[in-house]
Assembly symmetry: C2
Homo-oligomer: 342 residues x 2
DNA sequence: TTGTACGCGTTATCAC
DNA sequence: GTGATAACGCGTACAA
């Protein structure tokens, strides 16, 4: 089932011109007579001519497409990011090719190889929970391939990075819990390898210390898959609740951690916030409809996507390397029922 | 910031061979001596040679990429569909390029032009709420361009179509409400132009009739943007509740209609299901966490994506046209608190 | 067994 | 003002 498109050659043949004349006429070159231009333009309009982007890519050595690697698109935060990315990319005439790591290092590497082999002009990536080794990214980066990190960044590589102030987000949320009278605040965190985990835990610890609380490392539980698997969350919370001094509040540091935490409480008939309070990082649009309405730290995901894409395209189109930027966006705290002291 | 890749030419030069010999060696052609093959293979491994897919596309007149047009990726149903699409596409070596119509006919047409001009090999589409005119799709289809419709299909065009049994989904849900003792069941429906709207309303009407109820057209409200805008849902429900004989149950026929319906009830302090019951089409993963837990008709979205993609790639790769299939998948009914008779 | 020449669609360069 | 040619990277029919 081939689908034949109109080429410059067809136009040239039909009009008795050479392909170069047609090409120039289409590009409105000063060399071509107005009359010829008119003939060419009218005819190509008539037969609905579109230049073949593949031929152009081959010639220009660029594909005008950019790759995206995220863990999961069925996740509000990332689908909002992708919306932001697309809004800029389409404006500037770029395609986006999306790949999902599903929080697996192996799939991240495979996806990267795949995208690189599809000759993308640049990459936007938020690394997987499992990713510790950076060789797959480093080797591309060293060749001068444009890469922008967002959300989950990698310090070792010198590139543009776009994140939210995770420290502040977690600090504010933790402070809110302390000020609201909760005494024993646990942290449900993602993979220890991730930048966001470290930053968010940092904010949590600092808030406790600033409020004169003792930081107790047994109150921190990590989930390697970022809460993607319900079981890992279940195990983590089971562990916390079996402590001699169990928490009366939890701060969950990722979307899936937060919702799976709620699922756990619902399943076990643990009342929120009466038995235990909850606040979490989440970009769900439905947090107000949950039972109870969920207190969240929300990230400006759409803007993150836009900024990352602008930086990437800027880098792709730059003649010479520029300095790399580190953009830090403000998180927003929404206090609702789940973190109220009863 | 150009990024130079290794070509066959580089290998040929380095090894003192011609490009055709290298090409054949890489493709393991019988004509090449084992010794030469070994040299070529080892060297190209060493310098990490990857064939340029753009050059291949130009030659083979196919890009190994397929286009997807959906209204919104930040919608569980569609992001699950896309997961299904990707799982098959990547297996078969295809890229996917995703575009969003945001329920706008104009953007759908623009996206289609864009994708077509990016030389995709085929298209997977679920049309926008606003789409009535089909010329943009018809003209492509008539040229023999492979198109597969999923979810929101267009009867006028003879292509593969993958849908769920919307009639049955709505019928079962409506029957459940009637049997549960609700007397006045309203339908909150999407755009009248959409196939899914017609099919779902059909099931609703039939269920009422089968149960000896009178079907009253004032109990049906349409939202042109499929509930994407909260205001249209508000207006629709306001209207229903102001009827002389207001509904005691609502069936909402799309994801956003359902959640915005809940938002309305929460905002107006209307209790569900005490004051009014609710059941809706939804693929949210969180319906069990909402307050109250939401009764839903769920669609096998992942499978829809997989099947659509298999049909599309089959058609792209087919030598001659085959008959077009219409696959109808079963919906699943989940009864929870929101539709319980108190 | 290996090399030469051509074509895919386009544009830049040079020639007329 | 217009046309012929080469080049982008690859695969292959044909030639050696």
């Amino acid at each position: 089932m081939k689908f034949e498109a109109v080429t410059i050659k067809d136009i040239a043949k039909a009009l008795g011109l050479s392909t170069s004349t047609v090409s120039r006429a289409l590009r409105d070159s000063y060399e071509i007579s107005p009359e010829t231009k008119k003939r060419v333009l009218e005819y190509s309009e008539k037969i609905n001519y579109r230049p073949n982007p593949i031929a152009l890519s081959l010639k220009e050595k660029r594909s005008r497409s950019i790759g995206i690697i995220v863990c999961e698109i069925a996740n509000s935060f990332f689908s909002q990011i992708i919306n932001g990315i697309e809004s800029i990319a389409y404006d500037k005439g770029y395609n986006v090719i999306i790949a999902q790591s599903h929080e697996s290092y192996e799939r991240e590497v495979l996806n990267l190889q795949y995208l690189a082999s599809r000759s993308i002009d640049g990459l936007l990536i938020s690394v997987s929970s499992e990713t510790q080794e950076m060789d797959h990214l480093r080797s591309l980066h060293e060749k001068g391939f444009p890469i922008v990190f967002f959300d989950r960044v990698v310090d070792e590589l010198q590139t543009h990075k776009v994140i939210v102030d995770n420290f502040k987000g977690a600090y504010d949320a933790s402070l809110h819990l302390v000020k609201n009278g909760f005494r024993n605040i646990a942290a449900l965190a993602g993979s220890e390898y991730l930048s966001i985990t470290k930053e968010r835990l940092g904010g949590y610890v600092k808030a406790l210390e600033d409020m004169g609380r003792h930081y107790d490392s047994t109150m921190v539980q990590h989930c390697l898959h970022g809460g993607m698997l319900y079981e890992e969350v279940e195990t983590a919370i089971d562990h916390l609740l079996q402590l001699p001094n169990p928490p009366d509040a939890i701060i969950a540091s990722a979307d899936k951690l937060t919702t799976n935490c709620m699922r756990y409480f619902k399943k076990k008939n643990i009342r929120v916030p009466e038995d235990i309070a909850l606040i979490g990082f989440s970009n769900l649009d439905l947090t107000d409809l949950l039972s109870p309405a969920l207190s969240v730290v929300r990230q400006p995901a759409f803007e993150m996507g836009q900024i990352s894409t602008e930086l990437l395209i800027q880098q792709i189109e730059a003649k010479r390397p520029r300095d790399f930027e580190r953009r830090i966006l403000p998180p927003q705290l929404f206090i609702r029922e789940s973190s109220e002291k009863i």
